[in-house]
C-alpha cells in the first residue's frame, strides 16, 4: 500500500500550483453574470419546491365544486382547475414534483454512469466489453419504449411496504424517477469512459501504479477526481431531460399518480381545455417550466464552459 503522502504527490502532478480545476471553474463561473443569474433562478425554484408543500399541505383535497374552472381573478390568481383547486398553488407545488423527479433521477443515473464508465475505461478487457454491451443494448431500444415498458412493469408494485422508505412505484413519484434513473446513465457512462481511457495513459497514473497502488485505489483516488466535473455537468444537463420526460410520461398517462400536482398533468389536462377557452393551466405550467428549463440550459452550458474551455459551445 502507498502512504497517503505518496498518493497525494502522485495526484497533484505537474501543473499550476495552488489553483485546482475546481477553484478555477468556480472563479470563472462567479465572474459570469448570466451564470450567476441563472443559478439564482434555479435557487428560487428550489426554495419554492421546498416551501410550497409546507404552505399548501392539503391542496389536493381542497375540492371546491362551486368554483370549478374559474378564469384568473383577484381571488384565484391563476384561476381554478376542474376540481375547483387553485391553479396558482398547483403550479408552485408542481415545482416540487418536477425537481424531486429530476433530482432523484439524476442521483441514480449520474453516479451509476460514472462508476460504470470509470470501470469500463480503466479495466478495458471483458469489463469494458460487458459495460459497452450493456449500454449499446439500452441505447438501441428507443428510450420511450423502455420508459413505457418500465412504467408498466412497475404497475401495482410497492417497495418496502410498511416501512419508512415505502415506495409506491405505481402511483407516486418513485416509479417515474426510478424508471428515468436506470435508463439515463448512458451518456454519462460514454463520456466518463472515454475520458478515463485518456487519463489512464498519463504519467502520473503510471507513477501511482509503479509505487504499487492497487488498481481500484488508483482508479478511485487518482483517476476518478479528474472526471468528477463530467458528472456535475451531466447532472445539470440531465435535469432538463428528466423534467421534459416527466411531461411526456404524464401525457401518455404513465406519469406521477393522480393525487400529485405536476406540470406534466397540467399540460396534459389542457389537451381538452384549450378548445373551450381555458388557457390558464396550460400557460402557467408552460411558463413555470420554461423559465426553469431556460435557467438550467444556460447554466449547464456555462458550467461546461467553465470546467472545460476547450469544449466551448454556444
Amino acid at each position: 500500500m502507498a502512504s497517503p503522502e505518496n498518493a497525494e504527490l502522485a495526484a497533484s502532478g505537474p501543473g499550476r500550483a495552488g489553483r485546482s480545476l475546481w477553484a478555477d471553474a468556480l472563479r470563472r463561473l462567479r465572474r459570469d453574470r448570466i451564470a450567476v443569474l441563472c443559478f439564482a433562478v434555479i435557487l428560487v425554484y428550489v426554495v419554492i419546491a421546498i416551501v410550497s408543500p409546507l404552505l399548501f399541505p392539503r391542496w389536493s383535497d381542497e375540492h371546491d365544486y362551486d368554483n370549478i374552472n374559474l378564469a384568473p381573478s383577484g381571488r384565484h390568481w391563476l384561476g381554478t382547475d376542474a376540481l375547483g383547486r387553485s391553479v396558482f398553488q398547483k403550479t408552485l407545488l408542481g415545482a416540487n414534483t418536477s425537481l424531486t423527479v429530476a433530482f432523484m433521477a439524476n442521483v441514480i443515473a449520474v453516479p451509476l454512469g460514472m462508476v460504470l464508465g470509470a470501470l469500463a475505461g480503466y479495466y478495458a478487457g471483458w469489463v469494458d466489453d460487458l459495460i459497452v454491451w450493456l449500454y449499446t443494448t439500452l441505447a438501441s431500444i428507443p428510450g420511450i419504449i423502455l420508459l413505457v415498458a418500465i412504467r408498466f412493469a412497475f404497475k401495482e408494485v410497492v417497495l418496502f411496504e410498511d416501512s419508512f422508505f415505502k415506495m409506491d412505484l405505481d402511483e407516486g413519484m418513485a416509479g417515474v424517477y426510478l424508471a428515468l434513473g436506470v435508463m439515463s446513465w448512458i451518456g454519462t457512462c460514454r463520456l466518463v469512459r472515454a475520458e478515463v481511457m485518456k487519463i489512464r495513459e498519463l504519467d502520473y497514473v503510471l507513477a501511482a501504479r509503479a509505487i504499487g497502488t492497487r488498481g481500484i485505489v488508483t482508479l478511485f483516488r487518482h483517476v476518478f477526481p479528474n472526471v468528477l466535473h463530467i458528472g456535475i455537468i451531466q447532472f445539470s444537463l440531465g435535469f432538463v431531460g428528466a423534467i421534459k420526460a416527466e411531461v411526456m410520461l404524464s401525457f401518455l398517462g404513465l406519469g406521477v399518480g393522480t393525487g400529485v400536482p405536476s406540470w406534466g398533468r397540467m399540460i396534459n389536462a389542457a389537451r381538452m381545455e384549450l378548445v373551450v377557452g381555458r388557457w390558464w393551466q396550460l400557460t402557467s405550467a408552460v411558463a413555470a417550466m420554461f423559465f426553469l428549463i431556460l435557467a438550467l440550459n444556460i447554466f449547464g452550458d456555462r458550467l461546461r464552459d467553465a470546467f472545460d474551455p476547450r469544449l466551448r459551445t454556444a
Binding site: W133, T137, I141, P142, I145, A149, L252, I267
Partner: protein, 320 residues
Amino acid sequence: MAVFILRRLLQAAFTVFGVMLLSFLLFRVMPGDVSARYVSGKLGKEARQAWLEKHRLNLHLLYNKDVGFRPWRKEFYDAQFFWHLHDSATFRSRSYKTNERLTDIIADRAKYSLAITVPAMALGWLLALVVASVVAYFRGTWIDHVGVFVSVLGMCIPFLAYMIGGQWLMFQIYPPAAWGLHNPFNIYVPVSIAVIAGLGASVRFYRTVILDEANRDYVRTALAKGVPLPGVMFKHVLKNCMLPILTQLVMVIPFLIMGSLLLEQFFGINGLGDLLLTSINDRDVPVVTGLTFLTAVIYTLALLLTDILYAVFDPRVRLR
C-alpha cells in the same frame, strides 16, 4: 475493412441479442395473466390452457429446465425465449390480438408514420442547416446572438405544448386549416410542429459543428490567401461539416420509423408509434417485442453504416 465489418457484425449480433433478452424480460415481468385478456373467462380453464399452449406460454421462460442447463442438447432451446428469438428472426411473429403476421401489420402502419416523419426530418434538417450556416456566418454579431438565444428559447418549451398550441392556433386562424378527421390532408400541421419543436436543438448543434470547422487552420490559410469569406464558408467549411451532421442524421433514421409516438398519439395517426402504445396497453407482447427488435436491428446497422461512411469520406479515419 472486411475484418472490421465482420467484427462489427458480430458485435451487432450480441447487441440485438441483448435487446431481445431485455425486451423479453421487461414485458414478461408485467403483472397480470396475459391469457385473461384474450380468452373469455366463460370458456373455462381448458380454453385458456389451449391458448397458452398455442402461443407456447406454457414452456419454461429462458431455457428448458427439464433437461437442466445443457446447452448442447437440442431440447434445451425449447423455451419461450428461444421460440421468441426464432419467431422474430424468421419474421413469423403473430399478434395475439388479431393473429395477423407482424410483417403485414408493420407494412400497413409504417406508411402513416413515414408520411409524417420523413417530411419532418427532411424539412427540419434543411431549415436547421440553413439557419445554422447563416448564424455561424455572422458569428459574434447580433444576428448570431439573437439566433442562438431564440434557439435556446425554443428548446425550453415542452413538445406537448407545441402540439397543443399549434393545433389550437391553426384552429383559431381558420378552422379547416387545423388537423382533423375532415381534413386528413392537413398533414402540414403535425409536420411543421415536429420541425419547429426540433429546430432549436439542431440549429445549436449544427452551429457548433460549423464553428468548430471554421476555426481550423486551413480556413485561416484560405482567408489569408484572399479567398472571399462566403466562398470559404460554403465551399470548404460546409463540405467538411457534412460528416458529423450526416452521422447524426443516420442515427435518427431508425427512430423515424417508429414515428413520433407523441405526435401520433395526439393527432390520432394510425402509425407504428400508436401501434406500439396500444399493443403495450393490450399486452400484445409479440407486436411490442417485434417492433423493438426491428428498431434495434436498424439502429445497429445504421451505426455500422456511419462508421463505414466515416472511413470512406474521411481518409484520416482508419478502421481497425
